[in-house]
């Protein structure tokens, strides 16, 4: 009595990132086009390749950071330590460069490693000590800030970016395509692969849906959660490295403006804040959406008050369009 109806939906057979039919992602991309169309009423420059490339470049910083955030959100957690993980990444990479040629070479890995250390504390707190991520990451953020204040005050660290950092953020290896964009594309591709093709990715979705069941299936859920937080810390720090390369130096406040946009980008991209559901392509859309929105409001010289209100209204409106959770019945 094989009742197994084997009508297979062809769309589902595609790898996850090609689920072009996901209505949330499609709508998010539609919103991007809408936004550009709207911007072009103000100035046709919004459609110029320079402007769009510039947006993609700037978006890639947020994109790198949001990748880590997405991973953590897929687990049903959140990482509020992004601001100072970004700053630590940028500052420590620059600081390492002060130590001769070896420092130059190790600058980027060192910055990332520092971010991983923050992620490790978050991960241990969430996975092994079962502290809610919302609070442990808040605390590590405060500790990271404290460390950087002590450090800046005590060591007058070098804070100019190395040539390599600058090249990564502002150079372009492929003509016309900023390296930052290439980097985001690579990180994105790895993320898609990780999420859809590996046991790690499956485990992330599984834990996000029901950690207890994942654990009883023999998955070391605590290690996966910890690793996810480490990755998030690393990517935040790497975002900081790129940002420092972009601005050619690091500063304490450089991560402040990335926390809420990172969360918003992930969720606008259709990832459930409760975990277990979401695709990377959506996050890409979310990141571009947020970056464009901010940029267009800036260029239109919207006063801050109006900018905030429009920002809020647009996010609510877009979520109402496609980000609604299914009804209980």
């Amino acid at each position: 009595m094989s009742e197994m109806t084997t009508e297979r939906q062809p769309a589902r057979r595609l790898p996850k990132f090609l689920h072009g039919v996901d209505p949330a992602v499609a709508t998010a991309f539609a919103c991007i086009l809408l936004l550009l169309a709207f911007g072009s009423f103000y100035s046709t420059s919004f459609l110029s390749p320079e402007y769009l490339l510039q947006q993609l470049k700037v978006a890639s910083f947020l994109g790198v950071i949001a990748t880590g955030m997405m991973l953590v959100i897929l687990l049903g957690q959140i990482d509020l330590s992004v601001p100072w993980s970004v700053a630590v990444g940028g500052m420590m990479a620059c600081a390492a460069a002060a130590f001769g040629p070896a420092g130059e070479v190790l600058a980027i890995p060192f910055g990332i490693a520092c971010g991983m250390a923050i992620g490790l504390v978050n991960g241990i707190g969430v996975a092994y000590l079962r502290i809610p991520s919302m609070i442990i990451t808040l605390a590590t953020n405060a500790v990271a800030q404290g460390l950087m204040v002590v450090y800046t005050g005590g060591f007058s660290p070098q804070d100019s970016a190395t040539a390599a950092m600058r090249w990564l953020a502002t150079g372009s290896l492929l003509p016309g395509v900023p390296n930052a964009v290439v980097i985001w594309a690579i990180i994105g591709a790895v993320a898609v692969f990780l999420l859809t093709r590996t046991t790690f990715g499956r485990s992330v979705y599984g834990i996000g849906n029901r950690e207890r069941a994942a654990y009883l299936s023999g998955v070391d859920t605590r290690r996966i959660v910890m690793v996810a937080f480490i990755i998030s810390g690393a990517l935040s720090a790497f975002g900081g490295v790129l940002l420092a390369g972009y601005a050619s130096k690091a500063a304490q406040s450089m991560g402040d403006t990335y926390l809420l946009p990172a969360i918003a980008a992930v969720v606008l991209g259709g990832t459930s804040i409760l975990g277990g559901r979401g695709s990377y392509l959506g996050t890409v859309a979310g990141v571009i959406l947020i970056t464009l929105l901010q940029s267009i409001l800036s260029v239109m010289q919207m006063p801050e008050a109006g900018r905030q209100i429009i920002y809020g209204v647009v996010i609510v409106a877009m979520l109402l369009l496609y980000g609604r959770t299914p009804p209980v019945r």
């Binding site: 700037v58 005050g153 007058s156 406040s253 260029v299 006063p303």
Partner: protein
């Protein structure tokens, strides 16, 4: 309960009154040594860190240290009530004077009242207090805007398209500077097309805003920015925007660029005031406690360097951080910290 007297101040060179109608205070002289507290708010940027370092270094100078029984610093973060409570606590704990970098200019009225009743000298600096009941050590923010606009007008006698990178919306510093710029432009009678973006006194933010503005508006004839100047220049470089006259603040990184690209058209006016103003504030507090006459509002000299006068090792330091603010000495007050010294000082202490 200080007595309102007529000027001049005890040390007229250092304690210059803000305006001709500025009142002068004479507090009842107190026996030293004094207990002085610094109530700082926000702390997590280079300017503030440098400021705290300077305050400590100043209080440790032998002649100053001799006058102090205790010097305590507390940073309460961005929360205004926490800073108010800190001042309340200092008052209740019997400090003689409290120096404040106020998180909000208008929120301290009740505390000012309490300080007055308790006979505590209150001196505000950098972010000052909107009051005549406490001493303010003041930078002429509007004057900075005027200065920058004049600089641009000088280089662009026929007017032109200007990019104005503003600071943090809603702060008096940002508004004052902005007003200074626009009043000055208006007074020239020329045609100015000013594009405003928000840089939030932060390099990456200013850089992004500038990059966007350049991408859309293609070309500006002049630029003025408050804070984040290094980022603004960086954005021009990245976008291959030709260098144009620039009125900005005193970050070391900005001045490095100004010196380097002056020949290519980056004609800068770099003006502002450094974190060492905290030392002036402490000095004012001590003078007031000693019973000297001090102005209610002290006008700080502005450190200005303009093209072609950028001198290496004096106006900027190629080997030092981009982030620190160079205009950091007040010779008229005998305060001569170079930022380099401040940053170096504690390094030896470690």
């Amino acid at each position: 309960e200080p007595e309102v007297v007529s000027g001049p101040a005890g040390d007229p060179n250092c304690f210059a009154p803000w305006a001709s109608e500025t009142k002068f205070f004479k507090y009842p002289a107190k026996e030293g040594p004094y207990r002085i507290a610094l109530a700082n708010g926000y702390i997590a940027n280079t300017w503030r860190i440098q400021m705290i370092q300077t305050a400590k270094a100043y209080a440790a100078q032998p002649d100053v240290a001799a006058k102090l029984k205790e010097f305590k610093v507390v940073s309460t973060g961005e929360d205004v009530p926490a800073q108010i409570s800190a001042i309340n606590n200092f008052i209740d704990s019997g400090y003689d004077a409290i120096v404040v970098n106020a998180q909000n200019p208008t929120a301290f009225t009740p505390v000012i009242k309490r300080a007055k009743e308790a006979g505590v000298v209150l001196v505000a600096f950098d972010n000052i207090l909107d009051t005549e009941d406490a001493i303010n050590v003041n930078v002429d923010q509007k004057g900075l805007g005027v200065l920058w606009a004049n600089w641009l007008a000088k280089h662009l006698p026929e007017g032109g398209k200007i990019l104005e990178v503003r600071g943090v919306a809603g702060t008096s510093v940002d508004t004052d500077r902005h007003t200074g710029i626009h009043e000055t432009f208006a007074a020239t009678g020329k045609k100015w097309d000013v594009v405003e973006v928000l840089g939030k006194w932060d390099d990456p933010t200013a850089q992004k805003a500038t990059a966007d503005a350049i991408a859309v508006h293609k070309k500006f004839d002049g630029i003025t920015a408050q804070g984040g100047d290094t980022g603004v220049v960086q954005a021009m470089i990245d976008a291959k925007h030709p260098f144009v006259p620039f009125g900005g603040e005193t970050e070391n990184g900005f001045r490095k660029f100004c010196a380097k690209f002056a020949g290519e058209g980056l004609k800068c006016s770099s003006a502002g005031t450094g974190p060492a103003q905290v030392a002036v504030a402490i000095k004012t507090a001590i003078a007031a406690l000693e019973g000297q006459v001090v102005p209610q509002s002290v006008k700080l000299p502005t450190a200005i360097v303009e093209d072609p006068n950028f001198k290496e090792g004096e106006d900027f330091y190629p080997d030092q951080s981009d982030n620190f603010f160079v205009g950091n000495s007040f010779p008229t007050c005998g305060i001569n910290f170079t930022a380099q010294e401040i940053m170096g000082q504690t390094k030896e202490n470690q």
